[in-house]
Amino acid sequence: MIKPYGDTLNDGKVQLSFTLPIPWSEAADEAARQLVVKMGFADVQVVEGRAVAENFSFFIVYASTPQTIDFESLAIPSVKTHKMTMDEIDALIEERVGRKIRVAGACIGTDAHTVGIDAILNMKGYQGDYGLERYKMFETFNRGSQVAVEDLVRFTKEKKIDALLASQVVTQKGSDVKNFTALVELLEAESLRDNVILCCGGPRMTSLLATELGYDAGFGRGTLPSEVAAFIATRMVHRVD
């Protein structure tokens, strides 16, 4: 069983900060304190409270949580296979798949932020890790931004795509989940879902969410291109086997 660690085991210390839509006053500090008590925290200390606009005040609070988590009992899927280099991945595909894997990526819906998909696909890659375009054994199609789900599915069919990467950076009002869901549903309607390795990516993406959405894998913040490449390669090997 675990709890947050401040400076002593099981002290349960957390820091919170938030804004309340009221002018600052001592009463506002007390409102902040009581709110955190209501959240279930103990030893609540409002260490900072101040006005950030005429009708808004900001608070920094330290408190202890009585909650614990049974870490041993958690079962969280992880798609990150063991670390492989570009050469290892190319060699694996060449040997076990025997042909280039066709990968298409796109920022779907109205999202124009290609920073994520570009980091994975562009030759240059991300943090010194080359993008999929650089791999000998991937044939990549970067479809760019604001690609309609219908167009992406049509393209997948026409080009016989093996692995599809959908990216969503804008997450406002759940637009990412809506678009990801639309893609899965359309692939299913076209009986293409089982033909592709389907991956999604974005700053808020987790493996758990991806699984819930019906994707094979989800890649979040800080993902390296080689991690995506390794996942696609090993999944493809399983398919061929």
Partner: protein, 511 residues
Amino acid sequence: MELQIDRKAVTRCRKSAAAIADPVQAFIERHSTVSVERSVLRLLGVDGVDADGAPVPNAIVESLEAGELARGVAVTFGRALVKTGLEPNALGERIASGALKLAEFRDVPKDTARDAVTGHARKALERLRTSRDERHELLQRFPQLPPPLLYMIVATGNIYEDRTAAVAAAEAGAQIIAVIRSTGQSLLDFVPYGPTTEGFGGTYATQANFAIMRAALDEVSRRLGRYVMLTNYASGLCMPEIAAMAALERLDMLLNDSMYGILFRDINMKRTFVDQHFSRKLNAASGIIINTGEDNYLTTADAVEQAPAVLASQFINEELAHRAGMPDRQIGLGDAYEIDPNLEDGFLLEVAQAQLARQIFPNSPLKYMPPTKHMTGDIFKGHLVDAMFNLTSVMTGQTIHLCGILTEAIHTPFLGDRALSLENARYIMKTARHFGEDIVPKPGGRIEARANDVLSECEILLERVAARGLMQAIEAGTFADVKRSPDGGRGFEGVFARGTDYWNPFEEMLS
């Protein structure tokens, strides 16, 4: 602080930029676009939407046959004004509803039609000048705090929520408010209508939304005793129309780049060049400061490698803006603090780039953009990187300072996030206010050497582009590793060659 830079190289860069602009300008003068024509109608007073929700200016321009369009919409519309005796807006509605057809009025003589339009055009320019004078007067009465001017973004999707956020940001120290547009608006070939409460990643730019925000900021300006500026985006497929609407509603700044749409939104290059020119003519007349988009080179590729391309783009933007009649004081050239924070001496490279721009463009209200690419969910580190950005800005005398926000990579900023960001900027800029004035960079040191390297690489790049032609250089992928063909991309179908009797009253009056 003053770097010893190769002044002759700067002169040669400007010469290359002029050589680059010459053929582009010649092309611009022989062409117009549907968006230019729609902005003519908007300035004449045409507004509103038809029964299907399509803007009236779009409906009118679409109703013209190709031969008529080549003359420009003004004369054809003027004929109908003469014959019907209606005001432009009422006439527009009748045409959009199908009650009247422009083809019915061909017998009205050209000169009579021109006179009718010129009267309305004069009134429009009068309105532009009034709003410019009004801004001038408000700035006298409610002076801004000294630059860097703190620029804050709001983007809830709902203009009324944006208003709350903008007023709170102004109270917390923001001097400029930008309303981010809904993602995808740059690709719409029309401007949405009316107040809007739904958007993704931002709020639609509409004339009604402009007016709502302007009124709120005027109110807060009076209350705080300092003028709070308003910014929106004249980029994408409707550059001149947004410029027209912004001028009418007294926006103070517009994002407006000569190449951004081509490279980063795959908008046709001919469309963009023609549109940027007319939009900048309007901006020049209405006193609006443009912000160019060089920061985009740095977010899509390596910031250290792209530094010469940023400078080259600044030279090109400056030259094309001059050709639209914009004075230096209205040309806010862009740059950004995007070097990987893990790079040793990255801060020195940032200082070199920012100071280089300051010295080369001394009268430009430089627009400095915050780190975004290397911001992560680690808000504590993000706040520190923003502090280094703030320091660079104040020590190199940047003018328009887009405040970095610690939750940049996480969500559309919370109200409290903006307040923390503004506190960060205000603290750094106060504690280091005159730091830049008091330090002398080591002659031949790392900062000066980097600045000269960037300048000399920029010179080579500009020479190459000049030799090849700008359109061909873009086609070959010279900028941001992106390749675009002259007839490809969005909006090409909206570009047309001007007939010999083409007429745009505003172009004539603003020359």
